[in-house]
Structure formats: structure tokens, C-alpha cells
Subunit: 121 residues, 2 copies
DNA sequence: TGCATTACTTACCAATTGGAAACTAGTTTC
DNA sequence: GAAACTAGTTTCCAATTGGTAAGTAATGCA
């Protein structure tokens, strides 16, 4: 019988797999990273700002994704008592810990495009 | 009229948004990160090794995801002329550039679990 | 001869995701 | 009084995702 490789059976690997699954779940869906990225750059933003800013998103999706992000304490929702009521969304300190991930993902994407055309390798 | 925030309309931001979308597309689906993570740790691995190693994945999914990864040149597929034919999969040098992303995602996931229970903040 | 192993593929099905459009509801402006 | 702006919610539908199970084809072993 051939000896087969076993790399994911240690506790360490299982922890890593769970960690990856957790993060991907928190960032699941088409829009969460973009909402987070936009809020990280824009600071406090209102619902309508986000709706106009994030190209292609529908109100239903924005609303649902913001609820998810709020539930995971990555953003805060604050109702402001203006003329027509407005709601401000902002990334929490905890939410800001996502920045390294988003940056790495953005960096890789740039690298990917360059490779497709540049072909330096 | 209220002045609304515009943060994603610059060329720089559009490039970033495209970059994020590209990366997420390359890593799309439930399994790609795990396959990549397993191969990064295990080096050369056969189809059946991966099938046994990656908990819960079905042959259909593994096959399809490996094809996607191969198309994007993140892994190589090599047929080995053994008794029953075997196929070896390996992460390319290019594929290894995904490591920082995977590491950040894994790190955040560990941080997330610690926060859920530890509550140091 | 028949069963096992390798690496898949195919067929079918269920659940989730996400998009369009319309609707709600309170307030303000013309 | 009508239209517009705020922040959503609701309904309905289509596409994608992913899972189970079975089938295929080549080879080796008892």
C-alpha cells in the first residue's frame, strides 16, 4: 500500500482551516468587501451615499449586507435626526482589522492584471 | 442640496475595485482556498490525496476547482505513468503569491475566534 | 473472472444568492 | 396637494452553487 500524504490532520491545520472558513463566511457574498473598502476610505457614510457609490449594488443587497456587517460588529449604524432622517454607517476599530486582508486582495488583483498583459515572467 | 461623499470615482479607486473583484473571482467558491492551502503545505499531491485530505469535498467539486485553478495557472497538473495512472497537482510559483492573502485570512479568523471567546477588548 | 484502485464525468436535484421593480413611511419642499 | 428625498422592505424570479450517487475507462491483483 502506498503511503499517502497527510497534512491537514494535525490540530494546527484544523485550526487554520476553521479560521479560513470563518473569515470567508464573514466576508461572504459579492458585496461585503466592497462596502467595507468604501467605508474604510470614506469614513462615515450614509445609506444613499453607499448606494450611489458602490457601482451596481441594489438597495436590498446593501441593506442586507450592512446588517450582516453590523451583526459581526465590523460596522456601526447610527440614526441621525436630520430633516429627512439619515443613517450613518462607519467601520469599527475591529472592522479596521480587515484592512490587511483587503489590501492583500487588492494587491494581488493588480499583480494579476499586470501579469495578464505585461507578461514579465 | 447636500454634498455627498464621492470616494470611489477616481481612477485609483476603480483600479482597486477591479483588483478586488478579480482576486475574489479567482478564489471563488467554497473550496479553492482550502485546496490551495493544502497544496501549499503538502507540495506535490495526487487527486486521491486531496480528496481524502480536504474534509467534505466531493470528487466533482475537487475536479472542477482544480481545473479552475489550473486555468488560472495557480496549480499544475502532471500525469504520472504509475501502475494505476496517478495525477500530481502542485502549486506554481505564481500560485505561491497567494500565500500572503491566505495567511492574512487565516490570521484574521484566529483573531475572530479569540475575540468571540476571549473578549480582550 | 471479478473486485479494487486511479481519476474523473455525468445526471439530477435542492438550496442559496442575487437582481429588478414596486412598495412603505415619514418629512420637506414647491 | 404633489413631488422628492430619506432608508429601507417585500415580492418574485433566474442563475449559480454545490451535493449525492452512479457511471466510465484503464490497469492490476487474487
Amino acid at each position: 500500500m502506498l503511503k499517502s500524504k497527510t497534512v491537514t490532520k494535525s490540530l494546527e491545520c484544523k485550526v487554520r482551516i476553521t479560521a479560513i472558513t470563518d473569515t470567508m463566511q464573514v466576508l461572504s457574498g459579492k458585496w461585503k468587501i466592497h462596502i467595507l473598502g468604501t467605508l474604510l476610505q470614506g469614513g462615515k457614510m450614509r445609506f444613499m451615499d453607499l448606494l450611489r457609490e458602490i457601482d451596481g449594488i441594489a438597495a436590498k443587497m446593501l441593506s442586507k449586507e450592512l446588517q450582516d456587517l453590523e451583526m459581526n460588529q465590523l460596522v456601526t449604524r447610527t440614526v441621525v435626526d436630520t430633516k429627512p432622517i439619515t443613517v450613518e454607517y462607519e467601520v469599527t476599530e475591529y472592522g479596521k482589522t480587515m484592512e490587511p486582508i483587503i489590501d492583500e486582495i487588492a494587491n494581488w488583483g493588480v499583480f494579476y492584471r499586470n501579469r495578464l498583459h505585461g507578461k514579465t515572467d
